[in-house]
Amino acid sequence: MNEQTAFVTHGQNGQDAERQPIIRVENLSYAYPVEDSDQPKQALSDVNLTVARGEFVGIIGHNGSGKSTLSKILNGILSPDSGDAWIEGMNTKDPEKIWKIRKTAGMVFQNPDNQLVSSVVETDVAFGMENLGVPSEQIKEKVTEVLDLVGMSDYRKARPHQLSGGQKQRIAIAGILAMQPDCIIFDEPTAMLDPNGRAEVMKTITNLNRKHGMTVLHITHYMTELVGADRIIVMDGGRIVATGTPREIFSQVAMLKDIGLDVPQMTELAYLLNQDGYDIPRDVLKITEMVEALCHLK
């Protein structure tokens, strides 16, 4: 495998690669073996999805809905029982391709403490590139670039345990960016952060997608983080139960509440008022929209 060329070229076959989805999942099923039981626990059943280049796709679902299992299969950490997952046309089951897949689809995890390897920020960011065999000078340049991208340039020489949760996650993101992936899978990166840290990380992710065209697959149980997504996939019991734009998804308040998810307060209010006969659009997301809708009533 020639890591060097993989690092420099984007995708594989130029134009062809541009048109094909970065992530493609077909009929994916996976079951965990359960201790003291012959009946394995079905974590994913018949999941199909695609993520196109430059898209921001959100996956929501409560704990145990299968969303994390899905992300682990996409990264080749778990192998599916049936069905396939492709990253840039590479099957995640193919052991020969595993490192290229991991380089192509970078992954940021939930616990900010348990994904930083080095006791200095800059060498942590460099870790992935060092593993890929990138020459020293290129690593240094790239570290400067990605730290700037996540707004952490001032912390280059800092030690991870002195940073806040949000800052640690931004370092983790920088470490993935440094490997020049074609897309990043975020596996609940905000679940352990306070509101400020969450806002920091979401700003970084949104910025990557909007300004730098990074393809993002964002897994979360905070709906409000997905207001700006291109598409939302709702998972429950290992299945995809709904797909659509944020407005299409959020307006289905009853369904979301039914599977144990939150909706933004404005959308919930619109839903409740609607039930009482108020003529208010069901897909209200923002306060200004609600004010306007209410003022039109009179």
């Binding site: 201790e35 409560h62 704990n63 145990g64 939930q110 806040s164 679940a191 352990m192 306070d194 509101p195 400020n196 840290g197 149980h221 144990g260 998810l261 939150d262 933004p264 307060q265 404005m266 919930e268 209010l269 409740l272 008022l273 009482d276 006969g277 108020y278 003529d279 306060i287 200004t288 609600m290 004010v291 209410l294 003022c295 009533l297 009179k298």
Partner: protein, 288 residues
């Protein structure tokens, strides 16, 4: 009967280059029986404050009175008793589980209290049921085999089993999904109503604070800035924002509506109350 905090200062690593004043002359009296939300952004001194309330860390100066007794002015043995009266549930409490079975783990606190075996068993059963778990099903299970949400509830039960007069919870819903969060906050509210004991809930979610608390204590840069009812505290929208905090989304909505129509009451912070108020002002049900 109350928790009275007087001129409380706490300085970490005093006289070192890392010196940091975490608490700065905190004065507040928390009367018994309230569901108090403690808010403030990370580093505002919340965690340091709650660790003083049960004597886990000693103040640099000032003190805390529990029902009139200066908790730092008493003997070490009595200080330990204070820890039983003021129960503290840390963040991610499931990380402190260590016993082989759920029942044994919950019994750790009562055992340290030197209660009779009978009383211990009774409390363990009560505490496990209080957090919404099935005692018979759960008691002999290893806590490490449970789901994240269940582990957390077992850990909370471990503190409840000491029957504290004041229960402090440091972000008990951190990292849980909405269902797990509602489950835990629901149980805490139920417990509060059943016992009438004080609950202090450290939270970052203004929506949760608006829904459950009847008092809010706001910490900022080591000082207790506000201590009042949610209605009053949430009126300080601009000041709270300056402190890196927010108010529930519906509060912003009601404020915007009030600008258009002065008749609107904007002291509202739950979706249900907002719905009722809108229907009051804009006319009742509109079934067509």
């Amino acid at each position: 009967m109350s928790l009275k905090i007087e001129h409380l200062d706490h300085i970490y690593a005093q006289n070192s280059p890392f010196e940091f004043k975490a608490l700065d002359d905190v004065n507040v009296e928390l009367e018994n029986g309230h569901f108090i939300a403690l808010i403030g952004h990370t580093g505002s001194g919340k965690s340091t404050l709650i660790q003083h309330l049960n004597g886990l860390i000693a103040p640099t100066s000032g003190t805390v009175y529990l029902n009139g007794v200066d908790i730092f002015g008493q003997s070490k043995a009595d200080l330990v008793k204070t820890r039983f009266s003021v129960g503290l549930v840390f963040q991610y409490p499931e990380h402190q589980l260590f016993e082989e079975t759920v029942a044994k783990d919950v019994a750790f606190g009562p055992k340290n209290l030197k209660l009779s075996e009978e009383e211990i068993q009774e409390r363990v059963k009560w505490a496990i049921e209080m957090v919404g778990l099935d005692f018979e099903k759960m008691k002999d299970v290893s806590p490490f085999e449970l789901s994240g949400g269940q582990m957390r509830r077992v850990a909370i039960a471990g503190v409840l089993a000491m029957r504290p007069e004041v229960l402090i919870l440091d972000e008990p819903t951190a990292g849980l999904d909405p269902h797990g969060r509602d489950m835990i906050l629901g149980q805490i509210e139920k417990l509060h109503k059943a016992t009438g004991n004080t609950v202090i809930l450290v939270s970052h979610s203004m929506e949760d604070v608006g829904r459950y608390a009847d008092r809010i204590l706001v910490m900022y840069k080591g000082k207790a800035v506000y201590y009042d009812t949610p209605t009053v505290v949430f009126r300080h929208v601009d000041e709270l924002e300056k402190m890196g905090l927010a108010v529930p989304e519906v509060k912003y909505l009601m404020r915007a509506l009030k600008k258009q129509n002065p008749e609107v009451n904007d002291d509202i912070f739950t979706v249900e109350a907002a719905k009722a108020e809108i229907e009051r002002v804009f006319g009742g049900e509109r079934h067509v």
